[in-house]
Symmetry: C2
Subunit: 399 residues, 2 copies
């Protein structure tokens, strides 16, 4: 069973991070919630930037359903279209040239479902199979299944998929939960690939190439930490696919919040400006900040894991990042912890008042669990303190 | 076939109203689009209010997925929850006491689909039937059908529905397209009622009672004209239904734009303030403004229709409005025009460069068509001018 947001929210005595205020003082018996990927870590970065990203919206602005009636994606604000293409050009992580279509969604969650609709057909005799290599993002199965669509159905782990005919494979790279760089695994005729590149940004992984797949998903939440805005975008090569996605979003929500789109455009624009700034007083960019903070956290986490001997963590190869112009270590947004002794990892941590998302929700065993690395400092420190207190029999290592 | 938004948007030489600027100067051969319900008429009201509804959002605000982790609807901003309940209390159009649940959605479009999910069950042997009395809102059939759900299916006109077992009936009141005040028509055991009260506001109809149905849908778009914000809300009595709706919104978009929610809260708050203002310099409220403008438009439209003898319009009974404290005439957001001579009404108007939404999309005949009454003045004036030029054989009347 997938641990839903609302379940995570209602965890007893859970400390909430609103992203607005720092959490209430943490006491020794507070439950800390690391099951969610709420990117509250970024709050401090945006605070440092002061008024540069402040949005002012008059009461008579952004009132029409339409954003750009001449555009195939008629609800996409031209400002966001421009800011998205520019940022990808500046970062070099994806091709977003003018011959690609940008489709905006209420988070990439809505766009994932728009793609299931766009890549399936009511004329097929049976629903198209949707697969992803385990461990896969825990929400894919439920998002695919919950409406019992006759157009598509969840078919599980791509590694064990052996059905003939058309299928959709979702490739999440870097992967959620385990941070691995991935390619498609089924590779059969009739396959349609969806690349979920939510974490293909320089703070999480070296940017090794400009991704140029048929369909690529990105989300404001993970790029900058603005999860409350619910903005995602797809870069789509094929016009018919983009048209069907737009139809899906029209039918499911008649477009996407203009306020959020405009705010996202402004914030992405400031990031691009800062990345292109080569002046002597150049500030730390969002990506430098994120990479620095996450690297430090990963280093400290690895130290604790090595010391207490109960868990292990994946190792990631260093690579040359075209964006930063140097070799960098990947520092994924989630730690994919494995219990060395085959214990239920999620349960073990819960006993120590740490809520995580267990491996079974990702299609693998309970000896794994996923831990968000994007919490505020105070919570992350408390997490390490509690993790240190868990003592095992052996010596920790990396797998 | 339902005329989709994107089709309406791409109508040749159509004049677009962005809600931000006044439309380009209208030439005599411009196509004017009255098919959409884009509420651009309200733009001038909010312009008069100046800075009172201006939103300022710092770059580090509204970042978390969570709005109110202790609330069943964990993504609902407390400010919006408060503003919605207060406005319903002030206007007296619906019971929104503290024992009711408020669920926010990306427009009431998302909430309608959340309700289909919440009121159906995967344990039933077949999909639950969804019906509405014709003429029904043109998007209901497609929103119900497009994912080929195994949970629910569109079953057409409620008047001719005769299947046993559970069903969902959508009651739109005042009705879109024809402005009629409605009650359920099937009235059989196992029926679940959804009241879409998008237009139950004082500018459109006299407020005769505080609606208190199990499930009621409202939308920011029609209440105030802010269609670009994509904010709707449901008032729900049953906790289990509200919980399933929240689950639907979690799975389809992980919540709703916080920027839009906060802006809606501010604007609804200003409306409530103005309605409660009894000072000597009291400004015209939104509802007074809307009622005044729509009444004038209806009067002018009726004059043209009576004069040219080709069409007829529904008559609406005057009623006592509890909100304004006087008898008022209904002034619906759409005019439901009927061709007296059985002509295809939509085609006839298209010949005169007026795009409307024809009767067949609402489940009735092509002698009807729906015309938005919420356009900017310049477009509405041009519409009346063109309508005046259509000459028939008889004398117009009202049906």
């Amino acid at each position: 069973m997938v641990v839903g947001f609302e379940k995570a929210a209602s965890a007893t005595k859970s400390v909430m991070s609103s992203g607005k205020k720092t959490p209430a003082t943490l006491s020794s018996d507070s439950v800390i919630n690391f099951a969610r990927g709420d990117p509250t870590m970024y709050h401090s970065y945006w605070s440092k930037l002061g008024d540069r990203c402040t949005m002012v919206i008059p009461g008579n602005d952004l009132m029409s359903y339409f954003s750009d009636a001449g555009n195939l994606c008629w609800f996409l604000m031209p400002e966001l279209d421009h800011a998205v293409r520019r940022l990808h050009r500046v970062v070099g992580n994806a091709v977003a040239d003018d011959d690609r279509f940008i489709v905006v969604g209420t988070g990439s969650t809505q766009l994932f479902q728009a793609l299931l609709y766009a890549l399936s057909s009511p004329d097929e005799p049976e629903p198209i199979s949707v697969v992803a290599a385990a461990p896969f993002y825990s929400s894919y199965p439920e998002e695919t299944e919950f409406l019992r669509s006759g157009l598509y159905k969840w078919a599980g782990d791509a590694y064990s998929f052996d059905k003939d005919g058309p299928y959709i494979e979702v490739v999440t790279s870097p992967n959620n939960p385990d941070g691995a760089i991935r390619e498609a695994v089924v590779n059969r005729e009739g396959g349609k690939l969806v690349y979920d590149l939510a974490y293909y940004w320089p703070q999480y992984t070296p940017i090794t190439h400009r991704a140029d797949y048929d369909v690529m998903l990105f989300t404001f939440s993970k790029a900058t930490g603005h999860a409350g805005s619910r903005i995602g975008w797809a870069i789509v090569k094929n016009k018919e696919v983009a048209t069907k996605m737009v139809k899906f979003i029209e039918l499911s929500s008649i477009g996407v919040s203009k306020e959020s789109q405009l705010r996202a455009a402004k914030i992405l624009g400031v990031i691009s400006d800062d990345c292109q700034d080569s002046g002597p007083n150049k500030e730390e960019t969002l990506f430098e900040y994120g990479q620095r903070l996450l690297s430090e956290r990963w280093e400290r986490l690895r130290e604790v894991v090595e010391r207490n001997g109960v868990f292990s963590l994946p190792k990631y190869p260093q690579d040359y990042c075209n964006f930063s112009g140097k070799y960098t270590d990947p520092s994924p947004a989630f730690a994919w912890l494995r219990s060395k002794e085959g214990l239920n990892c999620d349960n073990l941590l819960r006993e120590h008042n740490i809520v995580t998302r267990g491996g079974t929700t990702f299609g693998v065993g309970s000896k794994y669990t996923r831990i968000s690395m994007l919490s505020p400092d105070e919570e992350f420190n408390l997490f390490l303190e509690r993790l240190s207190a868990i003592k095992g029999t052996g010596k920790g290592n990396c797998y």
